[in-house]
Symmetry: C2
Subunit: 443 residues, 2 copies
C-alpha cells in the first residue's frame, strides 16, 4: 500500500512509534503506524521512512510508546472538589463526618460540572481515555464529558439516605429511571448507569429495583462490594450470609454487575462471582489510604474474572493518575502475598486497558489497538531521564512512568491533548472556577 493512497483514506496518522497493542502476547513493535478513520482504527502497518502524510493530521511518535488509552474503571469524578479536604482518618469518620456533610452542603449542579471538568482535565493529562463514574448531579458530569470528548460510563448514585440532588430517598429509583432514559443512546462515547452505594446503605428493595432499571436500559449496574470488614460484618449480622451471597440471593449478582473494591472476598465468593459472570474493579490506593484491606487481585484474575483498575475518587487517593495506580497495584500485590512474582507488570497493564474494558462491557470497542476498534490511543514520551534506560517499555510504563509522561491523547480518533496541551478543556477557566468554589468550602 503506498502511503499516498493511505493518506487519502484516513483522518489521522500516528507514525513512527513503538506500538504496544495489548493484544494477548503481542510484544511492543518499533516504527509502526496507526491509521484512524471515522474514529476507528483503520490500519496498522510499518512506518515507511520518509512517507508523506502532508494532507492528513499526523502525530509523530518517534521515541514514544503508542498504546491503548488507560481505563479508570472506578472513580467519582466530581470528588476532585474534596481532594485533600480530609486525610488520615478512619473510613467511617471520614465518610460520615467529613465527606457526606461536605457533599450535602457544597454539591450543586454548578459545582459538580466544574469538579468533573477538573477531573477530566487531570484524566486526559495522565492518559485516561475512558472512566467509570458514580456520583450525584450526574447530568452535569454528562455535560462536562460531552464538552471534553472523553469516553465513560456515568452512573447516577443510588443510596437510601437523603443525597445531593435526591433529598427524598424514596425517589432515588425514579431519579435513576429518568437518568437512564435521558442519556441512553445520547452519545456513542457515554453510557449511563446506576451506582448503588453499597449493600449496607441500599435496601434489598433498592438494590433489586436499581438492577431492574439497568436491565431494562441494557446498561451495567455498579456497586461498592465488601470494601470494609465492617460492611461484611453488618451484612452477616443482618442477612446471615456474606455480601456476595446476599447479592446472589436477591438476584443481582450477575454479568451486568460491576462490583467495586471486593477487598474482603472469601475464595468461595470469588468462585461465585466467576460463576455469575460478575466483573470486579480493584482500587488499591484508596483501599490502602483508608486501610480497608487488600483485594486479592491476582486470585480474582486467575479465577478468570475480568478485573479493571480504578483510582476511586480524589478524596481517598488523592489523584486520578492510572500510571501510578498500576505501580501501586503491582507492588501492593507483591508485598501482601509475599511473592515478588505476583501481578507482573504486563498483567496489571492489561487491567488498566483491555481487562478494564471487559469489566465495563466495552472490550469489543476499546482496550486494545486493533483494526475496527475505536481509536482511543495515547502516546507516551519514553525519552525522559526517569524512564531511561529502556530495556522493557512495559516495565517503564508500570514501574517508572507517571501521568506527566503522557504526551498525546486521542479518543474516538479526536486529539484531546497534543504535546501536553489540552485541546478541549480550558484549564484556566476550570481552575478559576474550582478555586472560587474551594474558597467557599474552606471558609
Amino acid at each position: 500500500m503506498s502511503s499516498e493512497k493511505t493518506s487519502n483514506s484516513v483522518d489521522l496518522v500516528i507514525r513512527a512509534g513503538r506500538l504496544l497493542t495489548m493484544r494477548p502476547g503481542a510484544a511492543p513493535i518499533n516504527d509502526m503506524e496507526v491509521h484512524i478513520k471515522d474514529g476507528k482504527i483503520a490500519a496498522i502497518e510499518p512506518s515507511e521512512e520518509g512517507a508523506s502524510h502532508s494532507s492528513v493530521e499526523t502525530i509523530d511518535a518517534s521515541g514514544c510508546l503508542v498504546m491503548p488509552g488507560l481505563i479508570n474503571a472506578h472513580t467519582h469524578a466530581a470528588m476532585t472538589l474534596f481532594r485533600g479536604l480530609a486525610d488520615d482518618m478512619p473510613l467511617k469518620q471520614w465518610l460520615f463526618e467529613k465527606i457526606f456533610p461536605a457533599e450535602a452542603e457544597y454539591l450543586s449542579p454548578h459545582n459538580v460540572y466544574w469538579s468533573a471538568m477538573l477531573a477530566f482535565g487531570e484524566m486526559i493529562s495522565s492518559g485516561t481515555t475512558c472512566f467509570s463514574d458514580g456520583y450525584f448531579f450526574q447530568d452535569k458530569t454528562f455535560d462536562a464529558a460531552i464538552k471534553v470528548g472523553i469516553r465513560g460510563v456515568i452512573a447516577q448514585g443510588v443510596i437510601d439516605f437523603p443525597a445531593p440532588g435526591v433529598p427524598d430517598p424514596e425517589k432515588n429509583l425514579d431519579v435513576g429511571t429518568k437518568f437512564i432514559e435521558r442519556w441512553k443512546g445520547f452519545s456513542s462515547l457515554l453510557t449511563p448507569s446506576l451506582f448503588c452505594h453499597s449493600p449496607v446503605t441500599c435496601s434489598e428493595k433498592t438494590l433489586i429495583g436499581a438492577m431492574e432499571i439497568c436491565d431494562s436500559g441494557g446498561v451495567p449496574m455498579q456497586i461498592h462490594l465488601s470494601e470494609t470488614l465492617e460492611e461484611v460484618n453488618t451484612i452477616m449480622g443482618q442477612k446471615g450470609i456474606r455480601p456476595a451471597y446476599y447479592l446472589d440471593r436477591i438476584g443481582i449478582l450477575k454479568e451486568s454487575l460491576i462490583a467495586v473494591h471486593c477487598v474482603h472476598l472469601e475464595d468461595e465468593e470469588i468462585r461465585l462471582l466467576k460463576e455469575r459472570g460478575t466483573r470486579v474493579v480493584h482500587c488499591p490506593e484508596s483501599n490502602m489510604k483508608l486501610a480497608s484491606g487488600v483485594c486479592a487481585a491476582e486470585k480474582i484474575i486467575n479465577a478468570g474474572i475480568p478485573l479493571g483498575l480504578g483510582t476511586d475518587g480524589c478524596a481517598s487517593n488523592n489523584d486520578l493518575d492510572m500510571l501510578r495506580e498500576m505501580d501501586s497495584a503491582a507492588k501492593l500485590s507483591k508485598v501482601s502475598s509475599g511473592a515478588p512474582t505476583s501481578l507482573k507488570a504486563e498483567v496489571i497493564l492489561r487491567c488498566a486497558t483491555i481487562e478494564g474494558a471487559r469489566a465495563l462491557g466495552l472490550d469489543q470497542e476499546i482496550g486494545s489497538i486493533e483494526i475496527g476498534k475505536r481509536a482511543d490511543i495515547i502516546v507516551v514520551d519514553l525519552d525522559k531521564p526517569h524512564l531511561q534506560p529502556l530495556y522493557d517499555p512495559i516495565s517503564s510504563i508500570v514501574y517508572s512512568a507517571n501521568g506527566g509522561d503522557v504526551r498525546d491523547v486521542i479518543v474516538e480518533g479526536k486529539v484531546l491533548m497534543r504535546e501536553r496541551k489540552l485541546l478541549t478543556v480550558d484549564m484556566e477557566e476550570v481552575m478559576w472556577n474550582i478555586k472560587k468554589i474551594a474558597k467557599q468550602i474552606q471558609g
Copy 2:
C-alpha cells in the same frame, strides 16, 4: 528592614511563596521571603509588595510552596543503569541471577559516572537535594556529584565477594580506608562513608573493620539490616540471635550506624536500636516490589528513632521520586497496620526532610528552613490541575504531587534547576551516554 538594604547583603531571594519550614508544628505561611547568603539561609520575612530585588538573583515563588529539599536517605545512584532490567522476580534470584552478574559485567568507572549523572538529573528534577548512596566505583559518583552540585553521603560498598572494582574481597577494607581518606573534607557538600552490604554478605571481621574505618574518619557507616526473612533466618542459624542483636554483640550497633530497611525487627530489637542511638532508613517501594515485607515505620518513629525515607536503587523501585515514595510509605503503613490514621502526611514529610537529615547526621545543617542552615530549598508549583483545590499543602505534597511538580531546586544557595531546566546537568549528553551503555547491556 528595607528591601534595598536586604538586597545588598544577599545572593539569592526566593519571594512571595507559601513557606513550609518543617520546623516542629510550624504551619505553611503565605507570602514569605527567604534570603540566602553564602549558601546559607540569612533571613526569613514577609514578602513586601512591590519590593525590588533588581540587583539580586530572585526566584518568584507566587502560587508555589517553598520547602526544604527532599532527602533520599538510601539509594544506589548508579543502579539507574539497571532500571527495568529485571522485574517481578524473587529477591535472591533477582540479585544473584540478574543484578550481580550485570554489575560484574557492565560496571566500570565510566558507566558508574554516567549512571550517577542520570540519577542526579532525576533526583534534582524531582526535588531531591541530598542523597545517601552505597555502591562501587564511588570515586566516580563523587566526580558526578561534584560536577552537579548536589549534596550527599557517598559510601564505598563493602562485601565479602569479588565486587566491581574490588576483585579481591580481602582488600575491601583497604579500598574503604583509602576511599574515606581521599574524600574526607574534600567538599562541604559531600561526606564519604562505607556501606556494608548486609550481615550475611559481610563477615564479622569485615563489619568490625568497616566500623573502625568509619569511626576513625568520623563518618557514618551504612548497612542493609533485616531486609528479608531469609537474612534473619540465616543469621539466627549462624549466630543463634537475631541480626540487630548480632550487630550489637560485635559492637557496631551504635549512633554512627545507619540501618537500612529494618523490615523484620521485633519490638525488642527496635528498643535496642533506640538505646544504641542507631538511625533507620525506610524504603517502602523497594520492600513492596521485592516482597521483602513491611517495615514498622510508625513504631520506629514512635520509639524515638530518627527514620529517614529512601527510594533504594532503580533496579528495585524503579524511580528516584521521593514525592511518590512518601505517598507509598503513608499508604503502606495504613493498609498494613489497619489504621488509616497511621503515618499521617506531616509525619512522612518529616521523614523525607528533617528526620532524613537526622538519620544521616546532617540535621544541624539541612532538613528545615531556618536561619543559619544551608540553603537546600525546593519550590513546588501547586497551581496544577492534579494539585487543586488546595485545602492543605502538606496533603497535596504527600498524596497528590509527583516529581514533575517541582519547579526550582537550590542546593547550598546555588540554583540547580530553574523553571524545570537543569542548570548543572547536560541531560542530552547524559542520555546519549546512557543509551549507548544500555545498548551493550541489552545486546
